[in-house]
């Protein structure tokens, strides 16, 4: 591996600097660095960030390779500027054993587009009844540290308590999909003005908030740490804010789509907007943006949920829930957080790289852009504006809510340990 000089990049949005990569690490950061023996990338005012880290990705392999595979999913991740993704456990078979998580981890290593860190299921088969072999998954080659039944809520308070306690032994974290199941039976969208009009089953905010409230109290009681997946309501923000002020060890994520879209979109009955938790109201969107800006919400996670065309090209009630997100996440964050003045690029690096790496203990990712650090980097043309064209996606699925929508920003280069995975917007 040779030397690469990234010339004139605004590191974390600051003054233009040169960054020299030598092998797998950053050799130097400064002005007027020598280009001798190095391939030169003229960054010309683009923003350089540490490689993005997604704590919440669905790669679908094993089991639903028609939606996505580890290869297509990690290529999508590299296109979006990611160097590490955490793969959710709701595959077929479920990632609830050391064997399955090792398989997923190994596929990521072999393909080489992005580090894949599997998330282990909390309970066997995501059924919420019996703890999965959390310790074995942690001790496997995959070294699992994050556990989640995502897609389903660990709704049994005792199972949740035990999981929180158990993972303390190896510093793990339980990532909760907060959804009270009885309150969301038949739920199709956010419960409110729009659901009343459209006659679609309501998913009330309280079904999320009540579980978050319970879980932060459980985490406090057993002295463990809990992570809240895809937080979506203003009320959830208030609960997390309260829990943090009380010293409870809770972290939370928000998806790009919950920062941008509202339940008004459901009026189209287009299932591309069908997602779990559902799109909420304008008020919720603003509360989420504010909370991400002030640090109440720690990170942005995509909840990248690929589905084949036929699972979305149908009536709303029959459609699958979820949206792809890896390739548009940074653009949506630029539009909703940076261009609105709520967050600077250093803040984006924190919310989309450093913090998620810390929560998931992805050592080697989310590091400062400075000499001696692993060369996991992302170069972003923040001046770019263009319409989203799913035809160009690397993801196997195209279920994006942004088709035809103009979004700012475009990732031009991604480096994983000094190796380019994306060059001039094209995958290597």
């Amino acid at each position: 591996m040779s030397k690469i000089l990234i010339r004139g990049a605004k590191v974390l949005g600051g003054e233009p600097q040169d960054v020299l990569i030598d092998g797998e690490t950053i050799a130097a950061v400064g002005t007027g660095l020598s280009a001798e023996g190095a391939e030169v990338i003229e960054a010309g005012g683009k923003v350089l960030l540490p490689g993005l880290v997604d704590l919440h990705t669905h790669l679908r392999e094993p089991g639903r390779e028609d939606s996505e595979t580890v290869l297509t999913g990690t290529r999508a991740a590299a296109s979006g500027g990611y160097t590490a993704v955490f793969a959710m456990a709701n595959t077929f078979p479920v990632a609830d054993t050391a064997g399955v998580v090792e398989q997923v981890w190994r596929l990521g290593q072999e393909h080489g587009y992005c580090d894949v860190q599997p998330i282990g299921a909390v309970t066997v088969g995501l059924e919420g009844r019996k703890l999965a072999e959390l310790g074995a998954m942690h001790e496997s080659a995959a070294g699992v540290t994050v556990f989640s039944d995502d897609g389903k809520c660990v709704d049994d308070a005792v199972i949740m308590r035990r999981a929180l306690e158990y993972v303390k032994a190896f510093g793990g974290v339980v990532a909760q999909h907060a959804q009270e199941p009885r309150l969301t039976e038949g739920a199709q969208m956010n419960e409110g003005i729009v659901s009343a009009e459209l006659g679609l089953g309501g998913w009330p905010a309280v079904a999320e908030e009540s579980v978050i409230a319970r879980d932060v109290l459980l985490a406090e009681h057993v002295g463990s740490r809990v992570h809240i997946c895809h937080l979506s309501t203003a009320g959830s923000v208030e609960i997390v804010r309260w829990a943090k002020s009380r010293g409870i060890d809770v972290t939370a994520e928000v998806t790009p789509h919950h920062l941008l879209l509202t339940d008004e979109m459901v009026r189209t009955y287009n299932p591309v907007y069908k997602v779990n938790p559902p799109l909420r109201t304008e008020r919720d969107v603003h509360a989420l943006r504010e909370a991400l800006a002030d640090g109440t919400i720690d990170i942005v996670a995509t909840d990248h949920a690929p589905h084949p065309h036929e699972d979305k090209d149908c009536e709303w009630a029959a459609a699958a829930m979820g949206m792809v997100g890896l390739e548009t996440a940074l653009s949506v964050v630029q539009e909703t957080m940076v261009d609105t003045g709520l967050l600077d690029w250093a803040g984006v690096a924190d919310r989309m790289s450093s913090k998620p790496a810390q929560i998931g203990q992805a050592t080697g990712h989310g590091r400062p852009v400075s000499a001696g650090e692993p060369a996991n980097l992302t170069l972003v043309d923040t001046a770019y504006r263009g319409q989203v064209d799913p035809a160009g996606f690397a993801s196997r699925s195209r279920n994006t809510p942004y088709e035809g929508r103009e979004l700012p920003g475009r990732v031009t280069h991604t480096w994983l340990r000094g190796k380019a995975t994306l060059v001039d917007g094209k995958l290597t």
Binding site: I193, G202, P204, D311, E315, W316, A317
Partner: protein
């Protein structure tokens, strides 16, 4: 008029009055010895029913046949929603057969909207009831019945329902009839009050153009029409109300309650009625109850809608269209 009829909310006041007036013309056909017009001769209409509804399907079928359309009945009850492709696949099969209009009943809210707006087919789409969303021809036939009874058969022509006070009672949460009626009656200038136990009123009802009350007795004296909705017994098991008897006591319409209504006020029901629960036999069989008229009016309304969506702008009855005249 639009190309499709998906929601009562899509109708302007003038659209709605035009449909009601056209339905009056259509109603006259029913009084003839030969109840048939050549208006939709050569047009093919499919009744696509993913959900059982004998009454609505027969009503549409009668309307289509009276307009001389070729009618295909397609019943696909049961597993439709479990595999979503079926709606699209079925629609495209029908399209390939050259269907001019699809009358669709579906258990999923929004299915007719998707059918009309997804580019799957070119045919006109008429919503015959979707999930808990809309049932626009039901609202139109209800409005037609009210206008005839409260304004007058001939006096009503060209008129809307301005100032009329309509009370809708029962399971609003699960009722497409209630949603459609609130939209249409508001458009036609009526004042609507929904009456139900709070568990059967949707969260978000505050944005609807109507009032909400939990007390039937205080609402009745101020009502020109009281529309009773069907309440499914299963709702009791889902804890929407404690017992059938308690529901009947608080929200059922019996003779004593009916006596509180103004003398001219009518009692309506979209059918089928569960006698003894939401309505007593005494009320259901009274002169003031319009259930049977509603059924008859349903055919006239559906003729009017089909004619206006498919027939064009010529007068419906007096001047039947032929190919030579085109």
């Amino acid at each position: 008029m639009q190309r499709h009829l998906i929601s009562a909310a899509d109708l302007t006041r003038d659209d709605a009055v035009l449909i009601l007036d056209t339905a009056e013309e259509m109603a006259r056909v029913a009084d003839r010895p030969i109840k048939k017009l050549p208006t939709l001769r050569g047009r093919t209409i499919v009744n696509l029913f993913f959900e059982d509804s004998t009454r609505t399907r027969i009503s549409f079928e009668a309307a289509e046949k009276r307009l001389s359309a070729d009618v295909i009945n397609f019943t696909a009850k049961g597993s439709s929603v479990s595999k979503g492709e079926s709606l699209k696949d079925t629609a495209q099969t029908l399209e390939a057969m050259g269907v001019d209009a699809v009358v669709i009943r579906h258990g999923a809210s929004g299915a007719p909207y998707r059918l009309a707006n997804s580019g799957w087919i070119d045919a006109a789409v008429i919503n015959a009831g979707d999930g808990t969303h809309q049932h626009p021809t039901q609202a139109l036939l209800d409005a037609f019945t009210m206008r005839r009874r409260l304004v007058g058969r001939d006096a009503g022509l060209g008129q809307d329902l301005s100032g009329k006070r309509i009370t809708i009672v029962g399971d609003v949460l699960h009722s497409r009839v209630a949603r459609s009626n609130v939209d249409l009656l508001h458009t036609l200038g009526a004042e609507v009050t929904l009456v139900a136990p709070p568990t059967l009123v949707p969260v978000g009802v505050g944005s609807w153009p109507c009032a909400v009350s939990y007390d039937l007795d205080s609402t009745l004296p101020k009502s020109d029409a009281v529309m009773m909705l069907r309440v499914q017994r299963e709702r009791m098991n889902a804890a929407f109300f404690p017992t059938e008897r308690e529901y009947s006591r608080r929200y059922g319409l019996d003779g004593d309650r009916m006596a509180k209504m103004p003398e001219h006020a009518i009692v309506m029901h979209p059918g089928p009625m569960v006698r003894g629960m939401e309505i007593t036999a005494e009320v259901a069989d009274s002169e003031r109850c319009t259930v049977v008229e509603q059924v008859a009016n349903g055919v006239s309304i559906r003729m009017a809608v089909l004619y206006l969506l498919l027939g064009g702008n010529e007068p419906a009855v007096t001047h039947a269209r032929t190919t030579e005249e085109k």
